[in-house]
């Protein structure tokens, strides 16, 4: 097990390095510099600014500087707003985004897994049909449409919940529903199909043949095995929530990191886009690592397969 974890950690470090390198050189490949979009600056001033941000150095030197700074967790200044750094942006917005995202993941898991299990047990029953239909529908509509409709009907028309901004508990409701709808639908589908697959396994028949009460067959023999793919999907689930949060935070005017990321794109604030990409890359790499280790803990097959 220790060897497996070590192996995964090393892989993830490589991934993190690839993320930084790829992002850095992609941003450098951009036509024109970060100041090219501004109104034309006199040559001398441009030179001065470039020296200030060390943009006149050779490319490889800039790259190693950037690597060093990333290791020290300094993601650099914003090129659009004076005195603001990428670290500021992340520090300010992260707690809000983490609350919103964490809540969405939690709700998806707490609701999605049981509904999926029940759906599979009562295959083609009423609940199964209703939730499957809903799942297809929410998975088929772009998230900004769902968010927009929620905001319009429950926020503006019925005034049940505040339609935008952030603050009290009531502010959480609409963005969380909008954000978790897709991942919830996805988890229901995943759990359901994974349960249905387990139902036909030999060990389930053996358990029944031994006369184990139905509840224990389901709980101990089926659910435990059916949950392996669910646990393995932790990383893609987080990725989905993260990307979804760009749009949801933007629509509901929530001061989180996702909104800043979208704003930085529309502002062409390249260093912020670059820094946040690296930040998101690290975040997801971390979640992938946790997901891999959890999967290996619950499923010995994974462990043995990768070590061998």
């Amino acid at each position: 097990m220790a060897r497996y974890i070590l192996q995964r950690v090393i892989t993830m470090l490589v991934v993190a390095w690839v993320v930084v390198t790829l992002t850095f050189f992609m941003m450098k490949a951009l036509p024109g510099g970060p100041f090219a979009s501004e109104k034309k600056l006199p040559e001398a001033i441009l030179k001065n600014i470039e020296r200030r941000y060390k943009l006149d150095r050779p490319l490889m030197e800039q790259y190693f500087d950037y690597l060093k700074n990333v290791v020290k967790w300094d993601l650099g200044p914003s090129f659009k707003y004076e005195g603001r750094t990428v670290n500021d942006v992340i520090n300010k917005g992260f707690s809000v985004s983490a609350k919103l995202g964490g809540l969405s993941i939690l709700i998806s898991l707490v609701l999605g897994v049981p509904i999926g299990v029940i759906g599979a047990m009562r295959h083609n029953g009423l609940l199964d049909r209703v939730t499957s239909g809903l799942a297809i529908l929410t998975a088929a509509a772009p998230s900004f449409v769902i968010a927009g409709l929620l905001q319009y009907y429950l926020g503006f028309k019925l005034k049940w919940f505040p339609p935008a901004t952030w603050g009290t508990t009531k502010h959480y409701v609409l963005p969380t529903i909008a954000l978790c709808s897709f991942s919830l639908a996805w988890l229901i589908k995943l759990t359901r199909s994974s349960m249905l697959e387990v139902t036909n396994q030999d060990y389930v028949r053996t358990a029944r043949a031994k006369g184990i009460p139905e509840f224990w067959v389901v709980y101990r023999h089926m659910i435990k095995n059916a949950l392996v793919p669910v646990i393995a999907s932790l990383a893609p689930l987080t990725a989905g929530i993260l990307v979804g949060s760009f749009i949801i935070e933007f629509i509901f005017a929530i001061p989180g990191v996702g909104r800043e990321f979208v704003v930085s794109i529309t502002n062409r604030d390249y260093t912020v886009t670059l820094g946040m990409t690296v930040f998101y890359g690290f975040l997801l790499t971390g979640f992938t690592l946790v997901g891999d280790i959890l999967t290996a803990l619950v499923d010995p097959r994974v462990r043995l397969d990768k070590e061998g």
């Binding site: 892989t11 993830m12 490589v14 991934v15 690839v18 993320v19 790829l22 992002t23 992609m26 941003m27 490949a29 951009l30 297809i136 529908l137 998975a139 088929a140 509509a141 772009p142 900004f144 449409v145 927009g148 319009y152 503006f156 990383a235 990725a239 993260l242 990307v243 760009f246 749009i247 933007f250 979208v262 794109i265 529309t266 062409r268 886009t273 990409t277 998101y280 890359g281 997801l284 790499t285 992938t288």
Partner: protein, 304 residues
């Protein structure tokens, strides 16, 4: 006591009768189609898709309006007999814009699918066939690519390449082939040990013949299914990019652009969001139904 031969009579030769095929032989494709037809949801999905594609490609020739013409004094008019889907804030006919938008969205989807087919299938087939160290190296690259948050790179690529159709094509194509590569590699690994491969090799088939004549056709079922599910993903990514301002530029439109334009005015003119959103939802659901139907129809284990 001797038994005379006359007491024996030869039995009729049943062998030929037992071997006779009573039902007409059916090809794999015909069988798959027969089972696909039996699934109403899948069939409905296919019909809807054909209708949508027809509307998108032929529809614009049947209306007198063009997607870029602004009609004076006709801003934000609700659906009517003259303008079936109403008009947008600049007084453009929404019906023809939906048709044109469908062209773009479907083109993105088809292109993403094709690229996936070419790159993903080739990559997966090579990795699976070569095996050993080459396979290991190639799959580690895929592992790394899979861990990287791809949507963020789609955004970054779209920023880099300047917003527009080409950048959407490239961004989606470059990023979404890893799933296909994994799938094809797994099928190739399973298939290459089978007897028919051994036979083909013993008969001296060349490597390209092995791949294109024997491996790829046998792995076709999962490839097709994966393709149908990847199309909605491409349409989604396109609408996502459009929403954050990286879509095709005006006056061109895609469903994603139309929906995000409609989103801006939804409080007063809901249909301007509802109609493109409905187009996206219908297409996505139809593709999912067709994908489900194909998966069942192409799976030999479910053959009845």
């Amino acid at each position: 006591m001797a038994i005379s031969d006359s007491r024996f009579a030869p039995l009729p030769n049943r062998q030929a009768a037992a071997e006779r095929i009573t039902t007409p032989p059916i090809s794999f494709a015909a069988d798959a189609w027969r089972r696909f037809k039996a699934n109403p949801a899948a069939l409905a999905g296919l019909v809807i898709l054909v209708l949508i594609a027809l509307a998108a490609f032929v529809g614009p020739y049947f209306t007198e309006y063009s997607y870029s013409d602004q009609i004076r004094g006709m801003n934000n008019k609700p659906p009517s007999a003259e303008h079936w889907f109403g008009t947008d804030p600049l007084g453009r006919d929404m019906l023809v814009r939906i048709f044109i938008g469908g062209r773009i969205s479907l083109a993105v989807a088809v292109f993403a699918g094709l690229l996936q087919l070419v790159v993903g299938v080739a990559y997966g087939a090579v990795a699976g066939l070569r095996g050993g160290r080459v396979d290991n190296f190639m799959m580690r690259i895929v592992d790394i690519l899979d861990t990287i948050p791809l949507t963020i790179y789609v955004i970054l690529l779209a920023v880099l390449l300047k917003p527009g159709l080409t950048s959407i094509f490239i961004a989606i194509g470059v990023v979404y082939w890893t799933g296909m590569a994994r799938l094809v590699r797994a099928s190739v690994l399973a298939l290459k040990e089978q007897e028919f491969m051994l036979a083909a090799r013993a008969l001296g088939a060349s490597r390209s013949r092995l791949v294109f004549r024997h491996l790829v056709p046998n792995a076709m079922a999962p490839i097709i299914v994966e393709l149908t599910f990847s199309v909605p993903r491409a349409i989604f990514t396109e609408s996502f990019l459009s929403f954050i301002g990286l879509g095709v530029s005006a006056p061109m439109a895609s469903w994603g652009v139309l929906a995000s334009d409609g989103f801006a005015v939804m409080r007063s003119y809901l249909w301007e969001l509802a109609i493109p959103a409905a187009a996206i939802v219908m297409t996505t659901i139809a593709f999912n139904f067709v994908g489900d139907g194909l998966r069942d129809a192409l799976d030999p284990k479910l053959r009845r």
